[in-house]
Amino acid sequence: MKTVFQKPEAMTDVPMHYCPGCTHGIIHRLVAEAIDSLGIREQTIGVASVGCSVFAYDYFNCDMQQAAHGRAPAVATGIKRVRPEAMVFTYQGDGDLASIGMAEIVHAAARGENITVVFVNNAIYGMTSGQMAPTSLLGQKTATSPRGRTVEEMGYPIKMCELLATLDGPAYLSRVSTHDSRHVLQAGKAIKKAFEMQQQKKGFAMVEVLSTCSVNWGMTPANALKWMAENMVPYYPLGVYRDVTAKEGN
């Protein structure tokens, strides 16, 4: 019998806690497929963050550390500096990376820390039940912006790829989406590229993956994908914001 589809080796066979319709599961799989395709599972050390992906250490079949809220880039730095041969990645949400962990991500990027960051942006705090995130869109209703996010009260959403692209440190910055299969495939390529950057010692690589939170957005999974395509993608334009290998003509 021919096997046409199977669990990546870099994933464990553990039921995930994610809500039905959540795109975290897809993104986990893309990370695991990238690790498998590069053959780096045994040298990979992942760093889970705080938020919905807090249990990522149970889902990736490689050595893992669980970091305090927002501190994953610092923990990853601590690991990578003493184990430069290891492939170190963080998996962080928008509250973790773009709010409480802003200092850690900016400085890891500025140092050109040779790590891979998978940044899952679903524009809301999911684990704590739907509060406003630094990346929540203007007008977006959440538990803590019940009348919708306004500029006057809460200011503007933060565009992390654009922000980090002002620094000289990053080697690779890319924003991708998971709203349809074509974009999921593109996201997989970007994540693989972010690991290759580390393998080639190019420095800091981050992929921002737009993601849904149908439960806390109050939508069906299908409508959440549609909402993401129609609202998030226009505000957070997809594309490559930095690629040092492109300059080199690769």
Partner: protein
Amino acid sequence: MAKTLMKGNEALSEAAIRAGLKAFYGYPITPQNEVPAYMAEHLPLRGGVYLQAESEVSAINMVYGAAGAGVRVMTSSSSPGISLKQEGISYIAAAQLPCVIVNVVRNGPGLGGIQPAQGDYFQAVKGGGHGDYHMIVLAPGNVQEMADLTTLGFDLADKWRNPVMILGDGILGQMMEPVEFAENQEPVNVEKPWATTGAVDREPNIVNSLDIIPEKAEKNMQALLAKYEKIKEEEVRWQEDGTEDADVILVGYGTSARVARSAMELARKEGLKVGLFRPITLWPFPEQRLRELAKPGRKFLAVEMSAGQMIEDVRLAVNGVSPVYLSNRLGGMVPTPEDVLTKTRDIVQGRVN
């Protein structure tokens, strides 16, 4: 090896490198700045990593990562910076990671000042961050001990998989004294099969402090507390002098113990029977020995550069058998032997309640 004249901050740094330090993550703050400067100068040339973090918060989380990756790692700071590290220390204690954290204490609270003090005692020995945990806390009394207890600190950290704090102060960090290092010291090589080093031919290792299932979380806590009980049994250290016949026993650690020693010598010249008890481990506190020393008629005088923090542990230890008094200075002021002597005379002559 010949003795070298060094600052306390430099001596502990040299000791750490000799103990096999592989990474130092720090952030500038007075009065510990000689530590990162020494590390930046020497560590990269001797096989380690020096990195100045963007904050104390990041520095301690870098320590978490490197400790979890199985190497000897440390950070240093001073009081306000140590407050910022508390989050990370709680995670490190919970994940049972070995590391050494140096606190060259200055006066607080708040921004306080930059003078030597001992106001971080509670924070160091009672946990400091959230949750039920302890660091092993070592209190050097001179520059040689700044070095020796740092060496010991790395061994204890690895032995118990627990964070160790070196609790110094601005005087111990800044002053120069002769210090000697052992010849050809070989760092103890401790196997760390739990560390995240890459899952080659084994199941993945996970460094973690989370367990949301209460039954399991309680078991984890019981295991942690059982470890603390063993540490209490095996690692208590102290020094005492003239306690056998003492009517008054001065209790102090670090710089306060030096002042207390001078006060004891002055008192003995006057014919007063005064002894000195110097805890070297502040956690575990030498409560058993203090309990043995307590008896009716004998009095204790805690000498501190704080509002009176260690005195609470002395009182818990003697448990009402002996009265415990306080001689202290605040705000970065250092008690003089005469201050302590005056208070000792008052106690002997019954002029204090």
